[in-house]
């Protein structure tokens, strides 16, 4: 009996930090946000309970357009990151030798040692009208006058893909790494060509990694702030910027909280749809990669 009690106490103690973390740092702040988002400001220092902030969002096309825009751009970034990241991950996991693999992984990691801000400035230096690429193209005679590569949506997408691609590569490498090479060989042996093997064997096998990579990348992209702000052009509004403005510039915490929640709900919805479409479960993807 006593033995059992001690065991139970140990379990409790082991579990406590996790429970506290979830409770204090995740649940409580979110509950606070929900309550905040349901307050309507009627006069200075006077608030009423209501859904006014959410109604405001629904009534103002600018807000939900920005949310949809952010969502679709994030999906595009996710798709590109997958398209570019998959071959890289495949090379690292299956083709590269043992030593090269470490080096390649390290190469992928290096950009993470630099802050978001510095990376964005790096892109600015490269892409601006008087920047490296434009100057080089002029020097080589490929173009006549300077070209501005900065301040448009394409730049934002490129910058975001660069920032998040590592989070696609890591889970992909880890699932592909767990794949027995003979599975691929069996795919060829049984008569499949390269495309069939990729489509019927490698991709289905890597699905948990693909899905978890996509979830992380989508969440990071939809929630990113610096890159779209710094690289974006005159029309590129981003939903996080909207939230920041509500909280900071307009002192409207109530509506900022509502926006934050809407972003969370929206991204969760997209991910749920993605899981449904790919036939994966969250537990499955998280456990496998």
């Amino acid at each position: 009996m006593q033995q059992k009690d001690i065991k139970r106490l140990t379990m409790l103690l082991l579990f406590a930090p996790f429970a506290l973390w979830i409770l204090l740092l995740i649940l409580l702040p979110h509950i606070g946000m929900v309550i905040l988002s349901l307050r309507e400001k009627v006069a200075p220092r006077v608030y009423e309970f209501g859904f006014g902030n959410y109604i405001d969002f629904a009534m103002e096309p600018i807000y939900w357009n920005t949310l949809l825009r952010t969502g679709s751009m994030a999906l595009l970034v996710t798709a590109l990151a997958l398209l570019i990241g998959f071959p890289i991950a495949y090379y690292i996991a299956k083709v590269a030798g043992f030593r090269t693999r470490g080096a390649l992984f390290l190469l992928c990691l290096i950009p993470l040692w630099v802050s978001d801000l510095i990376r964005a400035f790096g892109w600015i230096l490269l892409l601006r009208e008087t920047g490296v690429i434009s100057t080089f193209l002029q020097w080589s005679g490929a173009i006549d006058g300077p070209i501005e590569f900065l301040y448009n949506d394409a730049t934002v997408v490129v910058g975001l893909v660069y920032t998040v691609i590592l989070f696609m590569i890591v889970p992909l490498v880890s699932t592909l790494d767990g794949m027995d090479n003979s599975m691929i060989e069996a795919g060829y042996n049984l008569g499949g060509n390269g495309f069939t093997v990729l489509r019927r064997i490698i991709v289905p096998y890597a699905m948990p990694g693909i899905v978890s990579g996509c979830i992380v990348v989508f969440m990071l992209t939809a929630g990113s702030y610096l890159t779209p702000i710094l690289l974006g052009g005159k029309n590129s509004s981003w939903f996080t910027e909207q939230i920041y403005d509500q909280f900071i510039t307009r002192f409207n915490w109530e509506s900022g909280a509502a926006f934050g929640f809407l972003l969370l709900a929206f991204t969760s919805l997209v991910i749920w749809l993605g899981l449904k479409l790919s036939g994966q479960t969250l537990a499955n993807t998280v456990a496998k990669s």
Binding site: R45, I124, L230, I248
Partner: protein
């Protein structure tokens, strides 16, 4: 007002780690990037060995947000602009009144002192005194845009793709003045103000095609201006002065309708714990020799008598190149923002940003 908030935060972090342990009294300063130069902080700590100075760099909006989150705790001295005190105090109760007897107000420029006092008096209590002041206006490269003189010129097709602005309230106000309105007067009648804002929004949406990009901080503005990618822009005067030091063709242009002037203040957060140290700091930076150090860091003028003479020499040239006496008397000081205006302006800015054009 002059530094990208993230850069400021990075700097602040390095400064904080540099600060010693706090067995002595600590003065926690919430201020603008460059408003607490290391040289001055060290000098202050030498003079008052029992006071440690901790600096957090921020901007108007973040200062208010930080203080609002804690109900005015966590800092001992803040420096919001003069137009951002009245409404914030009414709405969130984050400041406490000042004891003017503890400040050497005699050295201050009386017009600025009286102006700030008028702006920040609530129920007979004064909440702020002036520190640095400066203007928002235009800058132009004289070689490429010699006759640039008003807010409206930003939208002149002559400079298509060669101008920039920051998509914040300053440009709304400037454009309103350029269209012959007086937005500050309209603060009293918010319906009228909304009308003005709508007109301004139409104008700025139409103007979007003329703008190369909206700048976000002093750094990207400087880069665009120095590289010649743009020839004119809305700007803070201090940024323009800095660029003047690197290229004498780049000058600050007070718009013909008047540059918009702001005064950054000294204000005490409601739950500050080191008021005495705060007063010591205020009096310390008002001393003439310290004013020069401060101004060379901020690039702005102090609110003390004879401030122009106390500027470091290279800034003095830049200011003289920019302002005539007529310009000075034409300054439009930001009026107190009444509750609700931030929301109206915010929506207008969103509308402009979301509009497709250019």
């Amino acid at each position: 007002m002059r530094l990208n908030p993230t850069v400021a935060a990075l700097l602040a972090a390095t400064m904080l780690t540099g600060a010693g342990s706090a067995q002595a009294e600590t003065l926690r300063l919430l201020t603008w990037g460059s408003y607490a130069p290391e040289e001055l902080v060290q000098k202050f700590e030498k003079e008052y060995p029992d006071i440690d100075v901790e600096v957090t760099f921020s901007n108007n909006e973040e200062m208010i947000a930080k203080l609002r989150a804690t109900g005015g705790a966590g800092f001992d001295l803040a420096q919001p602009s003069h137009d951002r005190i009245y409404a914030a105090q009414l709405e969130y109760d984050i400041y406490k009144p000042m004891d003017l007897s503890k400040i050497d107000t005699s050295v201050m420029e009386p017009s600025l002192l009286e102006g700030v006092k008028a702006n920040t008096t609530i129920e007979g209590e004064v909440y702020s005194v002036p520190h640095q002041w400066g203007t928002s206006g235009l800058m132009a490269n004289k070689e490429m845009a010699p006759d640039f003189k008003g807010w409206g010129d930003l939208c002149d097709p002559k400079y298509k793709g060669k101008t920039s602005m920051r998509l914040k309230r300053t440009i709304l106000l400037g454009t309103a003045f350029a269209m012959g309105e007086d937005p500050f007067a309209a603060y009293a009648d918010l319906d009228k103000y909304q009308e003005i804002l709508d007109k301004v929004a139409d104008k700025l949406i139409e103007c979007k095609g003329n703008i190369k990009a909206y700048w976000k901080g002093g750094d990207d503005l400087s880069a665009m201006m120095l590289s010649g990618e743009i020839v004119a822009s809305e700007t803070w005067d201090s940024t323009a002065y800095k660029l003047f030091g690197q290229n004498e063709n780049i000058v600050f242009v007070p718009p013909e309708t008047g540059a918009l002037a702001w005064i950054d203040t000294f204000t005490l957060p409601r739950k500050g714990k080191a008021d005495d140290a705060a007063y010591k700091w205020i009096n310390f930076v008002l001393r003439p020799e310290n004013v020069t150090i401060m101004s060379s860091s901020t690039g702005s003028m102090a609110s003390v008598k004879g401030a122009k003479d106390l500027l470091p020499p290279e800034k003095k040239v830049a200011v003289s190149a920019a302002f005539t006496d007529a310009d000075i008397s034409n300054l439009k000081f930001f009026a107190n923002i009444p509750p609700g205006v931030e929301d109206m302006e915010g929506k207008t800015l969103e509308k402009i940003k979301a509009a497709t054009g250019g």
